[in-house]
Symmetry: C2
Subunit: 140 residues, 2 copies
DNA sequence: GCTTGACCTCAAGTCGGCTTGAATTGGCAG
DNA sequence: CTGCCAATTCAAGCCGACTTGAGGTCAAGC
């Protein structure tokens, strides 16, 4: 009926330490204990999936917590979602041109990058742009 | 002729503490001192711009350092650049679809996200995707 | 009833990229 | 010569999301 932490770990793919951490942060809730051991409702797997999704979309654990009721229901603020969709799209667009620029730099025949006008334009753009937010799995 | 640190800070837009940190890490080099004060060649401003650009593109300071000769010249590994361009493009593509999905979730008429088949698909995708790498300025 | 070993707690550590703070130095104006 | 003030050094702190390690507990199997 209920799942213990190792079962949840196995099925969710998250290490037990992360599950404990999430519980401590108030993102998930165990329904009780068998001895020392936490017991979780099966529903927690859905919650965990939703958390992974939201993390993927770049939301912080603190933000996500606000969407989860004590009963484990998720009620996401739709306005925030839409705003975030805009942000992501925006970022994606800028990344596309960044990729173009990086690719150009890789192929540019000039021996010195600084003598390439394209590179100069990039420098201007990069000025005052700060890398900032954790973003999804960039393959390295 | 030479610039002291406050001048470099002003012209580059980076705080002096960052410049000292960059020097400590071997990304930039001061050409000498006037008393205690570091003196930089004007060229360092170019180097700093290039660093900002590379940071924007998601490279770490350690990676960037390897591209900078002790003389402050930048010789970027073109293969790595190209590889990185692929990665960025890849990420951008995935972010685009993520934005779509997030937007759908925002508008989805189902009261409960979990009963939306689209949302279910998303959950599957998000599984085992980890947010990982610091990425450029997502506007918050 | 005893051992086993998975789970527990709590504190501390990790990583990257900086920032902050206390105590010190030293060129320059008066 | 004195005092000012900005720049210096060095160690420590910060952020988020976890992980790690030491030492403790207890249900279950023999």
């Amino acid at each position: 009926m209920f799942l213990d932490i190792s079962e949840v770990a196995k099925q969710s793919g998250l290490p037990a330490s992360t599950l404990r951490y999430y519980e401590e942060k108030g993102l998930i809730h165990s329904i009780g204990r068998r001895g020392l051991r936490r017991l979780f409702e099966r529903q927690v797997l859905d919650t965990l999936d939703a958390i992974s999704l939201a993390r993927w979309a770049g939301f912080s654990l603190d933000e996500i917590r606000d969407w989860i009721s004590p009963e484990g229901e998720i009620r996401i603020d739709r306005q925030r979602l839409e705003a975030r969709a805009d942000e992501i799209e925006n970022l994606a667009t800028r990344l596309m041109s960044l990729a173009q620029m990086v690719r150009h730099t890789a192929h540019c025949p000039q021996a010195d990058h600084f003598s390439c006008p394209e590179f100069q334009r990039m420098l201007k753009v990069a000025r005052r742009r700060k890398p900032a937010r954790a973003m999804p799995e960039a393959p390295r």
